[in-house]
Structure formats: C-alpha cells, structure tokens
C-alpha cells in the first residue's frame, strides 16, 4: 500500500521532470548559445513638459518589464526629462499610469538616475561611452564590459535623422552611431539592441555601423508614430502604440527567463495594423538570426556563467588594486 502510494506520487513527478528537461534541451537547440554574462539597459525619456506624459510611461512600462525579467536597478540607467509624477498638473500625485485600468508604474521601487535638466545629449553620450567626471556616482554609470548585452531605448519626439532632447538639443543619428562605435572600440558591449520610439525613428539607426548591433524602431523614416490610449482624468495620452504592444508582448509571452520567445517574435509584436506605422528593423550588422535569439538575451538577466579552462596566475597587483 505504502509502495503504491509512493509510486503514485513519485512516478508522475519523475516523468514530468524528465519531460521538462528534455523539452528544455530541445528548446536550447533552437537557439544560438548566448555569449553574454550580464545585461545592462539605458532607458531614456527625452522630452520635457507635462503633455509628454506618455514618454515617461513608455520608459516606466519597459522598466518594469525588464526588472521583472531580472535586470536589477543597478544595471538600469533611467533618464526621465520631466518630473511627471509630482507635477502640479497630475491629478493623482506621485503616480504614473500607462492605461486607464492599469496599475501604478511609479511605486516605491523606481530608481531614476538622471532626471530633469540632467537629461542632456552630453550626459547620454557620456553614459554610453563611459567618459564621466570622476565624481559621478556608480548608479549613473553604464559599467558594461565585453560580455554585456546592452539595451538602449530612446523615446521622445524625433524627426528625420534626429531626436529632440528637452526641446533645446538634438541627438543626431550620426552622434548615436559614433557613440556606439566608441563603445565597440572600448569593448563596452557584446551585443546591443537599440530601440527608438519616436516619429521617423528608423532614421536614428541609419549610420550605425558597429558589429553586433540590432536596431529597431517604431516607425520608418517617412512615417509618424502614434500614441495609444488617452486617460480623460489625467487629460493626456498615456502611452505610445509601439511601446504599448511590445510591452504587452513581453508581459504575455515572456513570463519568465526560460521563455522560448525569440527576437523575431518581438520584432513582429507590433504589426502595422496595431501600430499604425511600420516598425523598422536593421539587422545587417547583427550576425545572428533573430529567430535564434531569445528575447530574454536583451530584456532579461540570465546570469550565464562561463568557466575558464586554462590556468590563470593572479599577480600581486590584482590583490592590491
């Protein structure tokens, strides 16, 4: 009797475990082996003023998705150009909502690294290239290395070949390409995903020519991007279409780190009938096939360890430094 009970519990458990492992092995076959060990993200909202509420909620929505998938606050550099949650015009102070029935995105777990007038083109390029004033605290630096997958997300108002920062400055696509080239030459990334969510955003990655950079945009160069939802109580649009649908994809299809969703699924998450604009993709500098890359390679932090096979001698400088 006891044995049969034991078998009753043990046998199905074993089968499930074996099947799971087998499944996982099969899934792993579908993907290329990721070469990174850590993940970093730079999320930038470039626009000032209250009516650009939606850009802040774009950034926050993505921030919560990548944080849910394991990228810690210390590896996320968030830049918000406007203090929307505590803006005097906000009817619900201290909160940001990305949809009418959604939850508060500005809870007590949010860490903003650059805010207000600190969000400038200079600071953004400094973050990417890592050339800071020595006093800059650790939380404001992108401390990525040659084994980091870096996600750069830009949202705001843009035009053909530029992105507007704070209504005064512009980040041109040439600036962005040079910054990424500098990062490549300094060994600051392993693979990079650049997402631009603004009008005419495909122009932002026109000049990028560094290897292993996959670039996505919310619209093609001759197109506008559109916002998604308006909240009558707040009185402004609360999120952009591209970010809304891609974040929705992340929360529906990428529930955990072992999700088998691939980058091609992410690229197709916002078709033209949903986005009302054609999303732009540039993969000619990206050596892998997006269908063989997990979404979590960029949006999650899997902590992949790589072990060394050769012997390494640490000299005295290592211990003293």
């Amino acid at each position: 009797m006891r044995w049969s009970l034991f078998l009753l519990f043990f046998f199905p458990c074993t089968i499930v475990a074996v099947l799971n492992t087998g499944l996982q092995l099969r899934i792993d076959e579908l993907f290329d082996t990721p070469g990174h060990t850590n993940n970093w993200a730079v999320l930038v909202d470039t626009s000032k003023f209250w009516f650009n509420y939606r850009h802040v909620s774009n950034v926050l929505a993505l921030y919560h998705s990548i944080k849910r998938l394991g990228i810690p606050d210390s590896n996320i550099i968030m830049m918000l150009a406007e203090d929307v949650p505590c803006n005097p015009r906000n009817p619900r102070p201290g909160t940001v909502y990305a949809s009418r029935a959604g939850s508060n995105l500005y809870g007590s777990d949010v860490e903003v690294d650059y805010r207000g007038e600190e969000v400038t083109v200079e600071n953004f390029i400094r973050v990417l290239t890592g050339r800071h004033h020595p006093a800059t605290p650790r939380s404001k630096r992108l401390l990525s290395d040659h084994q980091s997958n870096v996600l750069v997300y830009l949202t705001g108002h843009g035009g053909d070949s530029f992105m507007k920062f704070q209504d005064t400055e512009e980040l041109t696509n040439v600036d962005l390409a040079y910054a990424i080239r500098t990062m490549y030459e300094d060994n600051r990334y392993h693979e990079m995903l650049v997402i631009a969510d603004s009008c005419r955003s495909a122009s932002m990655f026109e000049w990028i020519d560094s290897p292993n950079v996959l670039s996505l945009s919310s619209s093609l160069t001759h197109e506008e991007s559109y916002s998604y939802d308006i909240d009558e109580n707040i009185g402004v649009y609360v999120i952009d279409r591209y970010t809304h649908f891609t974040v929705q994809f992340l929360s529906k299809e990428v529930k955990a780190l072992n999700s088998s969703a691939n980058m091609q699924d992410y690229i197709e998450a916002c078709p033209a009938r949903k986005c009302l604009s054609t999303t732009g993709v540039r993969k000619d500098h990206y050596s892998k096939d997006p269908t063989r890359v997990r979404v979590t390679d960029f949006f999650g932090s899997a902590r992949i360890f790589q072990h060394l096979t050769e012997e390494i001698e640490l000299d005295d400088d290592f211990w003293s430094g």
Partner: protein
C-alpha cells in the same frame, strides 16, 4: 556565557535606532504629520560591522570628513499664519544642502564638496549637480551643533530652487532606515505623501568624536478632501495602510497624537487611532518673511524682502543668495525700518558663482522691516539658458535665522522666478529676410533699367548657353518641387545614395 556576551559588546560598536511620528491638527481641515527616524553609532576604529546605522552614510562621513551634513527637499508653501512654526530644519521649495567638513584648503574643500554632492545624488536620487554653493557664510543659517576639532572646518551652503522631490527620493530615504518593512515606515506611502499641501523631507548626518548620528525626517500637511462630510483623521485613512507590524530593533517607536504618546514598539494587533484633538491655536505670533519682485522691464528688477516680527524682540540673520544671472546694485540697496547691526557681503567670484548678502537685523516686537535690492539681469550665453528659457530662472528664497531670548529657528521667504532677457532671433530673422527679399526684388530691376543702355541686338544664343539655362531651369524646378513636397535634405541625400548604389550594382 557572560564572557561571550562581554566579547560581543566589545566587538560591536553600540548602535541605536528610533522612530517617531507626530500628528497634529493645524486647522479645521488640515493635519500635519512629522516622521522622524534616527540612528546613532559609536565611533570605534576598525569596526566595520553595521547593524542599524546605514553603512553608506558612515562611508560618506569617513570619505569626506563630514562633521555636519543637511539635505532638505521641499515642495509647496508653508502657511505661517495658519500652521504656526515650520518644522525644523525649515524646508523651502527646492533643495538645500548645508555641510560642515574638514579639508586642507579652500580649493580642496571645493573639490571635496563637488564629490560629496555627486555622492549625495547617488544616495538620494537627486539631481543637485547644478547647485551653486556659497562658501563660508559668516552668519548663522541653521541651528547646528558646536564641535571641537584641530582641523580646519569648511562650511558650504546652497539652494537649488528648481529641484523637484518625488517618490524616488522617498524610496532612497527609506532605504537608509533599519526598519523598512515594519514599524512606522510602513505608513510612508508615496501616493498619499505627495497628495498634500506641503511636503518636506530631510537627511541630517552628524559626527563628533564619540558618535555618528543620522536623522531622516518627512513632514507633510494633509488636507481633508471632503470637508462637508466632516474630518475623518483615522490613521489608516490618512496613510492608506494600517500599522500592522512593529519594529523590533528600535529602542523607541512611538506615535504622538491627541496630546498622548502611544508606544507602538510591541504591537500585538494592528494599530489604528483617530486624531480627535482640537487644532492648535497659534496665538503667539511668529516672525514672518516673504519676498516679492518689482521692476517692469527685462533688463533689471527689484527684490523686496519683507520681514514682520511677532510678539518677541528678535535678532534676525537674513541670508539672500543672488545667483550669477542677476547682478545686484550694491550701492542702491535700501532698508526701511531696519536696524542693521552687522553686514556680510560676498560678491560672486567668477562667472558662475553666486553672490551672498547677509544682514543682522535687530527688530522690535510687532515691527516690520523691508530690504530692497535692485538688480540687473545678465544676458547669458546661449548654452547657459535652461532648456525652457522662457520659463525664467529662480532666485532662491532668503533664509532667516531667528534668535530670540530662549529660542532660535530658521524661516524662509519664497523663491522668485525671474524672467530673463531671452534673445529671440526669429523676429529679426523674419525682418531681415523680408527686407532683403523686397530689396532684391525692387532694387534689382530698378538698378538694371536705370543703368542699362537700350539697344536692339540680334539674338546671340549659342548651344552652351542653352544648356546652361536648361540646367538652371531644372535646378529651380527641383528646388520648387522639394519645397512644395516638403522634402528635406536627408531625403535628397538618401535618394542620391540609393541611386549611386544602383549604379554600383549595374557595374
């Protein structure tokens, strides 16, 4: 057993943590909540174990030789008449930093403070990098402890009026607390704490030979949203959460309300009270100060600082920071009914540093004194304007240190938003374009026909001239096409690139 205990007490630096919440009704429909969280730690050499004192603050103290550091952030306006004396240290809209620290020289101190400010940005999620600091103010600005040290102490003070404070700052302040998920800190609910009339938060770090101390304080004045229904000042409804768990490691954990002290250190069940006490009547009149702006043009303005004394004779130490974009006219500063006993003026040392005016004023009870400071507004370089230049820039509030017979406190006036002369090149540009076009259209033919010799000539058009004209015509047509189709240069460039690529492929 006793020996092991003794060993423990020897090994660990003695640390303490306490928390306190004070609730007062300040008027019929308004309630003031004052949170105070504190920790102290014995200074022992080579002792790096921390229990309740935040390690990061200890590192800050050690790295920058801080003796006293005060960061205050505020939002909203304190109503002196209704609410009585401002909670100390007094906050004003924006952020203030006050630091006493050891350094070797003035230059060393400046450099150290720049690093300290950046470190604070990292710890508190603030954006204080642009704060303009005043070196060694001569008169008092805040009430602070006296310390004896052999090293030279440097003092810096600065206000950044445009700094906002929001949830991320609260989160970071909360992270410094030993009890984050229990005790009184459960009540720190951002959506409630920012939906208020006045909000202020501060961090104080102190160090002397024996102990290091830190204090985190949050003050908020809540407004009753439905005055018709009567006030319902239930603890759980004010803060949206009940006090359900107590902070076990605190030496003191109490709530002051209804003229009573409730000890919430050992809670068995969740704790909730209603604040029923009558609003405190503020019969004793306090010193008040406010600033207003005069002047009507874009080049200069006038700053009026008005001081109204209360019931007691007082000595006021007024400190007004004037940022680099305003230039005070020192000779024209005037006073009305002010008995000035001491002056300390500090002109701005370089292009980007602020000037500081300090006056010590003796003022009798009930009297009013006015300081008038005329100033010129500077025309800045294009890079120096903030992103939203037409919004204007802030002159920080004046800080007034009041000392009376047995009491001393700090009050503030209000910051002033100054509209700066912002050069607008679009209008002159329009005028120049228009005039130049008209000039070209009118003067060209006039000059041509007035100087031309009219003579019949046979047509001398050659083949090359025709080609030349055709090219010009095509260019004009292309330009007009690009203009009306709203094609920009980038698109033209892309078109040419594509064309060249196609040519390459053909080869």
């Amino acid at each position: 057993m006793y020996r092991i205990f003794l060993l423990f007490t020897l090994c660990f630096a003695k640390e303490e943590y306490w928390e306190n919440l004070k609730l007062d009704r300040v008027s019929e429909n308004e309630l003031k909540a004052e949170f105070r969280f504190g920790a102290s730690r014995e200074n022992l050499k080579n002792e790096r174990d921390f229990e309740v004192f935040p390690r990061i603050l200890d590192e800050l103290i050690e790295e920058y030789d801080v003796k006293y550091l005060l960061v205050i952030m505020g939002q909203g306006r304190w109503k002196d008449d209704k609410w009585g004396r401002k909670t100390q240290p007094g906050a004003v809209h924006g952020a203030q930093v006050y630091a006493d620290f050891e350094a070797n020289s003035e230059e060393g101190a400046d450099k150290k403070l720049r690093f300290l400010i950046e470190a604070l940005n990292g710890i508190l999620c603030t954006s204080l990098s642009q704060i303009s600091l005043i070196t060694s103010p001569q008169l008092e600005i805040f009430k602070r402890p006296k310390y004896s040290t052999s090293q030279q102490i440097f003092r810096r003070y600065g206000i950044l009026s445009r700094e906002t404070t929001c949830t991320e700052n609260l989160t970071r302040l909360r992270k410094l607390l030993a009890c984050r998920q229990s005790g009184i800190s459960i009540l720190l609910h951002p959506s409630k704490l920012y939906d208020v009339l006045y909000h202020a938060s501060h961090l104080i770090v102190k160090k002397n030979e024996k102990i290091s101390e830190m204090e985190v304080g949050i003050t908020a004045v809540f407004k009753n949203k439905n005055p018709i229904q009567g006030s319902n000042w239930l603890l759980s409804s004010i803060f949206e959460s009940k006090l359900s768990s107590s902070c076990g490691i605190a030496t003191k954990s109490q709530i002051e309300a209804n003229n009573q002290i409730y000890d919430v250190k050992n809670l068995e069940t969740s704790f909730d009270i209603e604040i029923t006490s009558k609003p405190i009547s503020n019969e004793a009149k306090l010193v008040k100060g406010w600033t207003s702006q005069g002047g009507s043009d874009q080049q200069n303005g006038i700053l009026h600082i008005s001081l109204q004394n209360g019931d007691l004779d007082s000595k006021l130490e007024v400190s007004q920071i004037l940022p680099y974009f305003v230039q005070p006219r020192y000779a024209k500063i005037s006073f009305k009914n002010c008995q000035i006993t001491r002056k300390a003026l500090q002109t701005s040392k370089n292009e980007k540093s602020s000037a500081l005016l300090q006056y010590e004023i003796i003022i009798k009870s009930g009297e009013k004194c006015e300081i008038t400071i005329p100033f010129d507004k500077k025309i800045l370089r294009l890079d120096d304007y903030p992103p939203d230049a037409n919004h204007g820039m802030h002159i920080p509030a004046a800080v007034i240190f009041v000392s009376q017979k047995s009491d001393s406190y700090t009050i503030h006036t209000n910051p002033i938003l100054v509209a700066l002369p912002v050069p607008d090149f679009s209008m002159p540009f329009n005028v120049i374009c228009f005039v130049a076009t008209a000039f070209a259209l009118i003067f060209g033919p006039l000059q041509l026909y007035s100087t031309m010799w009219l003579a019949p000539s046979p047509p001398r058009s050659t083949f090359w001239r025709k080609i030349n004209r055709l090219i010009l015509l095509i260019l004009i047509v292309l330009c007009l096409y690009a203009h009306f189709m709203e094609i920009n240069l980038n698109e033209v460039r892309r078109g040419i690139e594509q064309y060249l690529e196609k040519l390459n492929e053909l080869r």
